[in-house]
């Protein structure tokens, strides 16, 4: 019974939704301090390539690779974040865009390491590695009534689901902490925040590094879910795609990019005939959203309205509903 419900294709789509949600969260973090960073695709690439190369060349366990990729992306986030603090608005957007392009050109040209534009294939697959490990302990997916294939995709999905929920929970909690309030203050008015004693440099770099960390993590997961990466996966289009998650869903609350990633990943899959026009629709969405609803679909008002309509949730989050900005 369970076996019929589990379709590897749906699970694959669901896994990509979850990775995209993590990417959406990564741009949300930097946006929550009012900085628009388009470097997240580059950080994602750093995470993906680091993890893939470590696991391919040194036979390290996947989890070590993912951690190393995440950390390296975070380090780059700090390195890029500190000098770019001087820049604001469009200048920051352009520098981060330039950084992403430099990273892509390096991936394409460093052929001895990255195999150039062809990309890396045969990256250890997270689900299959897990299955092999479990088989060594005498586990067989048939016990659960599953095919090997189904088990592999189900395992990936569940791992990603757990990871995504933890990330969202973490940043929701952070939003209500001293750090989150500092971010919000900086976004509203940098000078006022500074005069209130908030260390702007520290918090802006922190947001930038967190965004890089999360994007690098998503990239590393991406490499081990897809088992194939190429520089084109982390180019300008990816940067824009991540941006659209936040623009469409909204960047005021964390649920905005989450919803944006969910909706925009599902849409081309459900409407197959549309997927050819996917990017054209993306473009139109951006233009229309900016003209009509620049804060994105989901903002604080909508969230409060939803909470009012669902008494149970309101009770649960009652006291904090006003402050979860």
């Amino acid at each position: 019974m369970l076996a019929e419900l589990i379709n590897p294709y749906y699970l694959q789509v669901a896994s990509f939704i979850l990775i995209n949600i993590i990417l959406g969260v990564s741009i949300y973090i930097t946006l929550s301090t009012g900085q628009l960073s388009l470097a997240n695709a580059g950080f994602m690439g750093i995470g993906a390539y680091t993890s893939a190369l470590l696991t391919l060349n040194f036979d390290l366990p996947i989890i070590v690779g993912i951690l190393a990729g995440t950390l390296l992306a975070g380090v780059f986030g700090i390195l890029i974040g500190i000098p770019t603090l001087r820049l604001q608005g469009v200048y920051l957007a352009i520098v981060t865009l330039g950084f992403g392009e430099v990273i892509r050109v390096i991936f394409v040209n460093w052929e001895s390491m990255t195999k150039g534009a062809v990309g890396l294939s045969g990256i250890p697959h997270m689900g299959r590695e897990l299955l092999n490990t479990l088989k060594d302990f005498g586990f067989d997916p048939k016990i659960l009534g599953l095919q090997n294939n189904q088990f592999v995709f189900l395992a990936i999905f569940l791992i990603l689901l757990g990871v995504t929920i933890s990330i969202i929970t973490f940043f929701r909690r952070q939003n209500r902490s001293r750090v989150g309030r500092a971010f919000a203050a900086i976004k509203l008015d940098e000078k006022a925040a500074e005069s209130m004693g908030i260390n702007i440099t520290y918090y802006k770099v922190l947001a930038f590094a967190q965004g890089a960390l999360v994007a690098g993590f998503a990239g590393a997961l991406f490499a081990h879910v897809l088992a194939y990466i190429s520089p084109a996966d982390f180019a300008y289009h990816r940067a824009v795609e991540i941006l659209i998650f936040a623009v469409f869903g909204g960047s005021e609350v964390i649920w905005g990019p989450v919803f944006g990633a969910l909706f925009l990943t599902v849409m081309p899959e459900v409407l197959r005939f549309i997927s050819e026009y996917r990017y054209m629709i993306y473009g139109l969405i951006i233009i229309i959203m900016m003209a009509v609803r620049p804060q994105g679909l989901i903002d604080v008002n909508i969230l409060n309205w939803v909470k009012l309509k669902t008494p149970k949730r309101r009770q649960k989050h009652g006291t904090s509903s006003q402050k979860s900005i």
């Binding site: 623009v247 473009g283 951006i286 233009i287």
Partner: protein, 291 residues
Amino acid sequence: MLIEQLINGITLGSIYAIVALGFTLVFGVLGIINMAHGEIFMFGAFIGVVVTSTFKGPLWLAFLAAIAVTAAMGYLLERFALRPLRNKQGVSHLAPLISTIGVSILLENLSHHIFGPGNHPFRASFAEISFQIGSITVYLVQIVIFVISVLLMYALSFWLGKTKAGKALRATAENLETASLLGVDVKRTITMTVIIASAMGGIAGILVGMAFNSVTPQMGLSIGLKGLAIIILGGMGNVKGAMAGGLILGLAETFVVVYGDSGYKDAIAFAAIIIILLIRPQGLFGQKISA
């Protein structure tokens, strides 16, 4: 050899300069980075391909058609992507940037559908004609490109400096409200600026088509990003800086291909952006705060 490369570099650089001028005009007047400029430029190149290859039309007709189409696109861009955001309360200053990114994605994929994804050759009737001066070979195409670019830059400088409309544009760039108080029709000036910038992009598109003999939907992005790098190099909103920056980048790229690793040619522009913004954010030729 050296002089030939120098000529190649100057040809490339003068095209880059024209692309960058489109960016810098819009930034100077509106304070907006027009990310769609590269795609408008690419449409200009495609119009050139359609006129010269499909309809076997003459080159001057290709120029006229490209100017007309890109000017119309400039108007639409201003009307539907920029104007709704202006004077709107509570809109982030990043909104126009994001909006033009939307236009660029739309146009790039539109051209995929209209013209097809592949590489389109651009046949100029005089592509193979070359001159031999001593040991140096100079192609007629290079001369044509260079002459057109210089004429265009000169015309633009004259227009900005000497005509009434140019004066209105500079006034608007300096301060939008004051210009409007002094009787400048700001709305018209802004629309005109975007249209002229786009038409220059269209001309640049045909020049690039002639220079590289190939047009693809992706070229808008790569050349657009370089134009962006150039205006940062030369100073945002600075017309002379855009021209100088274009030449610098064109020469730098040509010499990296000759004396270095050609794979990293495309990285120069972006590395330059990062370094310039960190060391001298106002650009090589910019004042402390450019309008």
